[in-house]
């Protein structure tokens, strides 16, 4: 691995003078044709061989290197008449407006010039933006009379895109150029053109260089032609444009030489201006875009750079890479959270480069002898001279021999590098788009597995936001030792259990892990010894000695807890009773762990769930990330074993309630609907009292929404009272936080409730009514989208329609939100990415400007904090006291 040989320290930007362009040019381009009849490039044409070669079998006429190595050479076109560069049209206009039309001086007095020069110097010294002050100069430097030569000034206007009009006279590009030439270097600086001469007499820009007299022609490597299957050649858009320019240029020259009438010359000149304009920017305002024969607008220089698919964002800020793989993901609860299952077919394709040393020589030889098809094999060897050799079955023996020979007779020119297959224990980068936060790219250890999908532990789904409905993920293989070391200490999954967003766990148990832990640890869970051993064995936990006694589930779970863990908290299933019975809780929601023994309480989402796992949080912070990983691996496996012992299933039977309950709900909903009718009646009779600051209509809507909301909640409560948490699996899932909510269940059993569009009841559709089934201006519950039925009972057509309206709004909302928040995040990242913490604890940007004197006012890293605090003082005191008691 070669280190950095040279570092680019700076990039200077500047304009090119006509001399520069000519000096750079290897040939003048004159002929508008590209190839002759035999298919050979024409000399002095756009495909002139001196402009560089693409074909690897040819040699470049200019630099002598082969195609692929030659980066190409510029040519040039001498324009018959000067042409304005579109990108600078605005600047040219502003400069003309601010300079004298006869002497070319800036329209400022000497003292003003002096002041501005000082200001410029200061700003440049501090690397601050000049934009504002230049804008100010453009507005100040507008006088009717030149302060230097006393000449009367006439207003110069711009006629988009590139025409300059002085009074009524349209200036030609030549005239514009002449005027710009008059501007002295010192005045140009304040006008925003850095024309100061450096010590060696070099200038980075001159105002007149914004008007082109010579046009550089980019090398063919920039605009390669493609040969279609039919053998036809298809030229690049830029080439097409250059052909246009050459053609018109030629005609203009001929006409001028022949002494054609002024009118014709001017027309051709304008046409040349159009072609040069669209050559630079085909989306310039006021210019009809140049089109391809098929009608597609051409992609010219500016379009190549601009936007999401442009050079900057697509090829420079983000680059395509080798040594990566992508496939569908699927779950595997048996691998550790910091592992990833890699299909064998991928493992034999992507490789890790390994340098031969005396310690790995035999191993590497083995890989080479396995060849490129057998799994722990190798695909390539790189010889010390840099040649890369593919390992085929026919040559693998010779390669292995050479390798050994080179090693034994090591001469100092470097060693062989073997590109071996991926094997268990290699560290790789795993990623799922959209990569919204740093947990979207984490380092995993490889487990080579059969079949064709990536396998990942379910606990890492939340940070990646992954599910298995066809999601695909990417894997990247580190190619240097440095990167592997960095990844191992910073990017491994266990280092990211705590989210830097809020200082709590983002990786943790989900779905069945949680219902499983609940089933295992609830009070009624008692197992005989055989069952216990089965469960423990399945979770790879040590098997204790036989005692013949029965075990409670809590005892089993205690096996995975650290032996000195002490914790007290309330579980997710806590019903928030008015008076907490603590250890005597009926729901067993009061969790007490003493010395690693779970005494009371059940394990649920609050124990080790993603986003809210308290035990997990405690273990990461007190016992370190590796213990946390082990805990998560063991406890989730235990939970899965637990759920398998108990058996777990759900169906609509779980949402079944007795007839009596249905009747009660019916009565209740009818009552609510009557109440709505009463409210409407009161409103019609003008008896409704308006809330302060609200109109009568708004008040009515709010009251109705309130009544109907309460009605649904109440009907849900009725339904809920018929559910039994010990029997009903759907309820177990909702209450433990595994999946779904009580609201989902009540919508299935009791009543779906009010549908809303734009935050209120549905009030759109036909004139003054939602559907023709209702009276005009009807304000009742049903007429405005209240769904009285439950999902299980089924919605009637009207309800179904309203439900679809609400559903559609939700979908549209999501689509818009993703776009908006994506853009916001891009802006945030772009604005903040250069900030970093310096040695003295300050936060500075890349210019060294201090943004914060101490990060976050206390220098605490949120990822290492306890939910944003340095420490939980109460917890600390508790710990201290427990310790001192002993």
């Amino acid at each position: 691995m070669t280190g950095i040989l040279k570092k680019i320290s700076q990039i200077n930007f500047g304009l090119m003078s006509p001399e520069d362009i000519r000096k750079m040019s290897v040939t003048k381009i004159v002929t508008p044709d590209t190839y002759d009849e035999d298919g050979y490039p024409i000399e002095n044409g756009l495909m002139d061989p001196r402009l560089g070669v693409i074909d690897p079998s040819l040699k470049c006429r200019t630099c002598g290197s082969k195609g692929g190595d030659c980066q190409g050479h510029f040519g040039s076109i001498n324009l018959a008449r000067p042409v304005i560069h579109v990108g600078f049209a605005d600047t040219i206009h502003k400069i003309l407006r601010s300079t004298c039309n006869t002497c070319g001086r800036i329209l400022l007095t000497e003292s003003e010039i002096f002041d501005y020069r000082e200001k410029f110097k200061n700003l440049i010294k501090n690397e601050e933006s000049l934009t504002k002050i230049i804008k100010e100069v453009y507005t100040v430097a507008r006088r009717d009379k030149c302060p230097h030569c006393e000449e009367e000034q006439e207003e110069v206007k711009i006629d988009k895109p590139v025409s300059m009009v002085e009074g009524n006279y349209k200036l030609t590009a030549s005239e514009v150029r002449e005027r710009l030439e008059l501007i002295p270097d010192s005045d140009a600086l304040i006008l925003g053109v850095n024309a100061e001469k450096s010590k060696d007499g070099q200038q980075v820009a001159r105002p007149e260089w914004m008007v082109l007299t010579v046009l550089p022609v980019p090398p063919v490597t920039v605009r390669p032609s493609i040969t279609l299957e039919t053998g036809e050649r298809s030229e690049d858009d830029l080439t097409h444009k250059l052909v246009d320019i050459l053609r018109i240029n030629q005609r203009l020259k001929e006409n001028m030489e022949a002494g054609a009438p002024q009118l014709i010359v001017e027309d051709l000149w304008e046409l040349l201006q159009y072609h040069v304009t669209t050559y630079f920017d085909n989306e310039a305002s006021g210019v009809p875009p140049a089109r391809h024969r098929s009608g597609r607008p051409l992609k010219t220089l500016a379009q190549r750079l601009k936007g999401k698919e442009g050079r900057f964002r697509s090829n420079l800020s983000g680059k395509r890479v080798n040594f990566s793989a992508r496939t569908v993901i699927s779950p595997d609860p048996n691998i550790s959270i910091n592992e990833v299952g890699v299909p064998k077919i991928i493992a034999t394709e992507v490789t890790v480069p390994v340098k031969i040393t005396e310690w790995n020589l035999e191993e590497m030889k083995g890989y080479i002898l396995n060849g490129s098809n057998l799994h722990p094999g190798a695909n390539y060897v790189i010889r010390p001279d840099g040649r890369k050799i593919r390992i085929y079955d026919e040559i693998k023996e010779t390669v292995a021999e050479n390798l050994e020979k080179n090693f034994n007779e090591y001469t100092g020119e470097g060693s062989y590098v073997v590109e071996r297959h991926l094997k268990d224990g290699d560290i790789v980068l795993f990623n799922r788009q959209p990569s919204l936060h740093r947990m979207s790219m984490m380092a995993h250890e490889v487990r080579v597995l059969p079949y064709k999908t990536f396998r990942l532990n379910l606990c890492v789904c939340p940070p990646y936001n992954a599910d298995f409905d066809g999601d695909e993920m990417n894997m990247h293989i580190f190619q240097t030792e440095e990167s592997r070391a960095e990844a191992k200490s910073l990017m491994r999954v266990q280092e990211h259990i705590l989210s830097p967003r809020f200082g709590g766990p983002i990786i943790g148990g989900i779905h069945d892990h949680i219902s499983g832990a609940y089933l295992l640890t609830r009070e009624s869970a008692i197992f005989n010894e055989d069952q216990v051993f089965q469960i423990l064995r399945k979770s790879n936990l040590p098997i204790p000695d036989k005692t013949g006694e029965k075990w409670t589930g809590k005892q089993i779970f205690s096996e995975v807890l650290p032996k000195d863990l002490n914790m007290v908290y309330t579980a997710e299933i806590c019903r928030k009773c008015d008076e907490c019975l603590k250890k005597e809780c009926k729901n067993d929601a009061y969790v007490v762990i003493e010395d690693g023994k779970l005494l009371t309480g059940v394990m649920d989402e609050k124990a080790y769930g993603a986003f809210s796992g308290k035990i997990l949080d405690h273990i990461v912070k007190e016992y370190g990330t590796d213990s946390a990983r082990e805990f998560l691996d063991a406890s989730t496996k235990l939970a899965v074993s637990g759920i398998m012992k108990a058996g777990f299933t759900t169906s609509t039977n779980d949402e079944e309630i007795p007839q009596e309950a249905k009747e009660r709900i019916e009565v209740h909903l009818d009552h609510a609907e009557k109440k709505v009718d009463l409210l409407v009646e009161a409103y019609d009779n003008n008896e409704l009292e308006a809330l302060p600051g609200r109109s009568l209509e708004e008040t009515l809507e709010m009251r109705i929404m309130q009544v109907l909301g309460e009605a649904r909640d109440k009907s849900g409560e009725i339904a809920e009272s018929y559910f039994d948490i010990n029997e009903n699996h759907a309820v177990i899932m909702a209450l433990t936080g595994a999946r779904g909510s009580m609201l989902n269940l009540t919508q299935i059993t009791a009543c779906v409730g009010q549908q809303s569009v734009r935050g209120g009841r549905i009030d759109r559709g036909y004139s003054e009514r939602t559907l023709p089934h209702f009276q005009k201006r009807e304000l009742g519950a049903k007429a405005r989208g209240f769904v009285h039925s439950s999902y299980k009972k089924g919605l009637d057509p009207i309800e179904f329609f309203f439900h679809a309206m609400g559903g559609r709004e939700g979908l549209v909302d999501t689509a818009i939100r993703t776009a908006q928040s994506g853009y916001m995040q891009r802006r945030l990242v772009n604005a903040l990415q250069d900030l970093s913490v310096k040695e003295d604890g300050t936060v500075t940007d890349n210019r060294g400007v201090i943004i914060q004197t101490m990060y976050g006012e206390d220098g605490v890293d949120p990822a290492k904090s306890d939910y944003g605090k340095v420490v939980d003082l109460d917890k600390l005191v508790d710990e201290m006291r427990i310790k001192s008691e002993k």
């Binding site: 900057f312 967003r501 250069d834």
Partner: protein
Amino acid sequence: MQETIEKVTKVVKKKRAKFTESLIYEIAETVEKRDMDDKELDELVKRVKKAYERARVENGEAVGTVAAQSVGEPGTQMTMRTFHYAGVAELNVTLGLPRLIEIVDARKKISTPTMAIYFEEEFRVDEEFVRTIANQIGKSTMNDIVQDFHTNYAKMNVVVELDMPKIEDKRLNFEDIINRVEKAFKKVQIDNNVLSFEPSKPSIRELRLLADKVRDLQISGVKNIGKVVIRKEEDEWVIHTEGSNLGAVLKMEGVDKVRTTTNDIHEVEKVLGIEAARNSIIHEAQRTMDEQGLTVDVRHIMLVADMMSADGSVKSIGRHGISGEKASVLARASFEETGKHLLRASIRGEIDHLTGIIENIIIGQPIPLGTGSVGVLMKQKK
């Protein structure tokens, strides 16, 4: 309490720990609450010091990117619902993603400016006083205080009978109303509580316009403030307003200058200065997040706020603010308006020193952050 704080400060000094003021305060609070003795305090400070050292940010940490991600990532989980009833059911307030975008954009005109006006101690429970102030602040138009309003086409005038009890109820001053009316309309006759207006030209059109004008005449209220709502919050009266004018409200008597706030960040900047604006950004962003049930560490929001207010005025995040004023040409060009930045750089002869992240990615060099922010310096052999 003061004593405890001093005691803790002393212990902290003895242990040679550097704690922030807030941390010392928290420790002191715990000491009082848990009734700790000196030995325990010693032990506590020792432990906190250890924890504090463990929790420190590492040098070179890319805190900016982490902050941006932490603020941006929950955006996908936020609602798009523009209006929500936040606490005060009577007022609409923009919340969710649109509000967050508004804050980050540093919009000059926010969609729902609102104020919460608190009162000084002696007036807090004085309902009468608060109502009077509320009516001075809130916008009232002629329409709110008329008893009878009719347009007389025969006599070509508009006759308005004022509702004296209503004026009383709104705690308005009759004299003031009359003054305002006389100032706004030239042709007006006042006969006790009956006012009659005449149009400048006797035409039906003019008369109708006049009627509307009379009805909409603002007779009291602070500029830019519309509706007001008075609410009792924890034993004190608070005024919530639609619209905002912090400068004018703070000048009013009895208004608590410390707690009275607005959600308009630019107004805070104008009236109270940049530090207040920074705090306002933090407060508003945090509130928006909390309301959605999303937890984001303050430190991330602080960094965003500090970046926005670093050079003394509130700048937006995006091409018109921070990103558009970066020193590096490549960084600006790769964000937005690529062509503009490249062309401008060329005539100004700008130099890119390649110190930022994007620039180094573009040219394929290691980035100067984290691991890349350190180098190795070899000691030369003599």
